[in-house]
């Protein structure tokens, strides 16, 4: 620019000095020369101006992001630096998979796309509501927006759940790999928690199945997690999970010089600010000794503030309502629901499959309240099989092997359906196993069937006496060796042929017509149910043996109880493993 100035100076000098006597040709040359120069200068000045404008814009953006104006903000001599407000970035990208539709199950896809969008919206609104330096009314309105979006999110999740229950998840794998691909890091964490839960419940086959089924989705942290301590996994499972990235607090720094104080979770991300004041007092003492670091947000925002947003929490509610209608729930229900809430929250990454399982598991929980002491294991959805087996172990006082035992063997041998059979045999004088059989398939169909199950709850559930006290004629007739109804997931393993085995049980009290009537409805429902719980197959734990229910109202009621040879016994005499001659199978009770 200096040279330009010189030229212009000299230019002006020449012009000034030019008089009538000065030669014209050099002036002409110079004037063309200067004109070119002037044009060049103009061009460069324009460019400079554009660059300065761009720099200003970038500086302002930077200031919005970082909170302070950078030092190289171009200022005119008299201009003062602009006041910049730190803005919360709320832009997001929606995964491509949601926008395009497959054709089949487009309704579900549309719902899922909406859900993904709503999640992003909610995340954005939440970030906005957490912004510092905003005035009170603005903050209030943002919090309200946040709550509103959260409600919408929940509604969408509910709707999706209902859809899934209605249509069954035919291809959960195809649906959520696309979802998983977008933000890997957070997905890893939530999946790791899911895997951790598998580890927790010690169901090796199932966790292997989970791992196997999810590898195609590219979950990265699976490679790291199995090597780490189990305790850590369990602790991580107790913390919050969210389908969206776990970024519910700005970067927190905490001094390790204070003993660990567990943060009380607030129940809403949006209300975390309001609730952080009571919880921040322990944190404040810690923070006080830290050097001021303006770029951190020293808020002791609780970790668990996304709990209400986790998908599985919603399915519990409709089911629970259903159940409260149809059964008298035993006292352990509250602890069950609480445990289910805690555990259910872990199930976000495999929402479809888990939700279905959870629906089934939940229905089972409600039905078979017998050994509900071990509620947390019961509600472990991911390892439904083992959990239910654990549930049964608490029934030790009763000599009968709980039917949940067959869950264990089912993964290994696919004998699920036969195990119920065997357990029935174990309680030889059990009456109406016939009718409970339809219940199996019914429950697998989800909530509408629960009521039927309630009606059909016949004898053999001594543990579920509280539920059955309204049916005295069946309960009393059964022997002390009761068995639980087999849990629903295995009902599609619909070997409902207890009739064949126990045709002439003296205790069978229900008239045949009632049974037939129920069976008809059951048949109808079963036809729907046959195609449905395919998702459960993925767990590798169930093999459908008989998709069609045997028309056992036609089965003659005079069949012998099949023989079984007991191979192993527990210490209290409960048969642990037995060989059934009729079906040539070995059944193990876990």
């Amino acid at each position: 620019m200096d040279c330009k100035e010189e030229i212009s100076d000299s230019d002006s000098g020449i012009i000034l000095n030019s008089g009538p006597d000065s030669p014209t040709s050099p002036v002409k040359d110079l004037s063309t020369h200067t004109r070119a120069m002037r044009l060049k200068q103009k061009g460069l000045e324009d460019r400079l101006e554009l660059c300065v404008l761009e720099l200003k814009k970038l500086c302002i953006r930077e200031a919005e992001l970082t909170g302070k104006l950078p030092s190289d903000y171009p200022l005119l001599p008299d201009e003062k630096p602009p006041q910049v407000r730190r803005r919360i970035g709320t832009a997001f990208k929606l995964d491509e998979g949601f926008i395009s539709q497959d054709g089949e199950e487009s309704e579900l896809h549309a719902l899922e796309a909406d859900l993904a969008l709503q999640r992003q919206i909610y995340e954005a609104v939440r970030k906005l509501s957490l912004e510092e330096h905003i005035s009170k009314p603005v903050r209030k309105s943002r919090l309200q927006q946040c709550k509103h979006e959260e409600k919408k999110l929940k509604e969408l999740q509910d709707a999706i759940l209902k859809q899934r229950i209605n249509h069954g998840c035919l291809s959960p794998q195809t649906c959520y790999p696309s979802r998983q691909r977008d933000i890997c890091v957070s997905d890893d964490s939530s999946l790791s928690d899911a895997v951790a839960l598998d580890d927790d419940s010690d169901s090796a086959p199932f966790s292997a199945a989970v791992l196997g089924s999810s590898t195609d989705s590219g979950f990265q942290c699976l490679t790291l997690l199995p090597n780490k301590g189990p305790k850590q996994s369990s602790s991580s499972s107790s913390l919050d999970y969210d389908a969206s990235p776990i970024q519910n607090s700005p970067w927190k720094e905490s001094s390790l010089d204070q003993p660990y104080l567990k943060q009380k979770p607030s129940h809403s991300a949006c209300s975390s600010r309001s609730s952080s004041s009571p919880t921040s007092s322990p944190a404040d003492t810690r923070m006080a000794e830290l050097p001021p670091a303006p770029q951190f947000a020293f808020k002791s925002l609780p970790v668990r503030n996304n709990q209400p947003n986790s998908a599985p929490s919603t399915p519990e509610l409709p089911l629970r309502r259903q159940f409260s209608q149809s059964f008298r729930l035993p006292r352990s229900k509250p602890e069950l629901t609480k445990a289910s809430l805690d555990l259910g929250r872990g199930r976000t990454k495999l929402p479809r499959r888990r939700v279905t399982d959870f629906a089934l598991a939940y229905s089972v929980q409600r039905l078979y309240q017998c050994s509900s002491e071990d509620s947390s294991s019961e509600l472990s959805i991911s390892s439904y099989s083992s959990s239910s087996s654990r549930e049964t172990t608490t029934e030790a006082p009763k000599p009968c092997p709980p039917p949940y035992g067959y869950h264990r063997t089912a993964p290994n041998k696919g004998l699920g359906q036969l195990n119920t059979h065997s357990t029935l045999k174990n309680n030889n004088n059990n009456p109406s196993h016939l009718v409970p059989r339809p219940n199996q398939v019914k429950t697998s169909n989800g909530t509408p069937l629960q009521v039927n199950i309630g009606r059909l709850q016949l004898g053999p559930n001594s543990q579920s006496d509280p539920v059955h006290t309204d049916k005295p004629q069946q309960v009393q007739a059964t022997s002390p060796k009761r068995m639980l109804k087999p849990p629903p997931p295995y009902t599609k393993v619909a070997r409902t042929m207890s009739l064949r085995e126990y045709p002439n049980h003296p205790g069978r009290v229900l008239p045949r017509e009632v049974i037939s009537g129920e069976l008809k409805t059951w048949h109808q429902k079963n036809n729907i149910a046959i195609s449905k719980p395919r998702s459960l197959e993925r767990q590798g734990s169930i093999r459908i043996k008989r998709p069609e229910p045997p028309p056992y109202y036609h089965i003659p009621f005079h069949k012998q109880v099949s023989q079984k040879v007991i191979l192993q016994r527990a210490s209290d005499g409960t048969p642990l493993q037995w060989y059934e001659e009729e079906d040539s199978e070995i059944v193990s009770q876990v």
């Binding site: 942290c221 602790s235 970067w251 720094e253 050097p291």
Partner: protein, 125 residues
């Protein structure tokens, strides 16, 4: 200290053994941590990769047990007594570090300078 998703994380680490100090009723370590999978990683002033949600040392108190043991500001903690710290929440990390019955914590930490040192020494040979 960026990681490739799907690949095992590898880093040059330094073992640091911090002997906690009794201060009144508490056992103090003399440093503060930041980060975690539940935190916003873009606000981490120490991480190179702003998507790294690991646990970083954000403050080392002068003369405290951590400084004495060799912990430096900006270190990323990979393991604490064998527990992984690369994929934990903030609270989990804090828990693992502030166990009451543990006098000593053995950390594996990594920092950029370590990698450079190793690289340089490898280049020399």
């Amino acid at each position: 200290m960026s990681f490739i998703p799907g690949q095992p994380v590898s880093a040059v680490v330094q073992r640091i053994e911090i002997h906690k100090l009794y201060e009144g009723d508490n056992l103090i370590l003399g440093f503060s941590i930041g980060g975690g999978i539940d935190q916003d990683p873009t606000q981490n002033p120490f991480s190179e990769d702003k998507t790294d949600k690991g646990i970083y040392v954000t403050r080392v108190s002068k003369g405290g047990p951590a400084e004495v043991a060799g912990l430096r500001l900006g270190d990323k903690i990979m393991q604490v007594n064998g527990w992984d710290m690369t994929m934990v929440t903030h609270d989990q990390a804090r828990k693992k570090l502030t166990k009451k019955n543990e006098d000593v914590v053995r950390l594996l930490v990594t920092r950029k300078s370590l990698e450079e040192t190793v690289r340089q020494s490898m280049m020399q040979h």
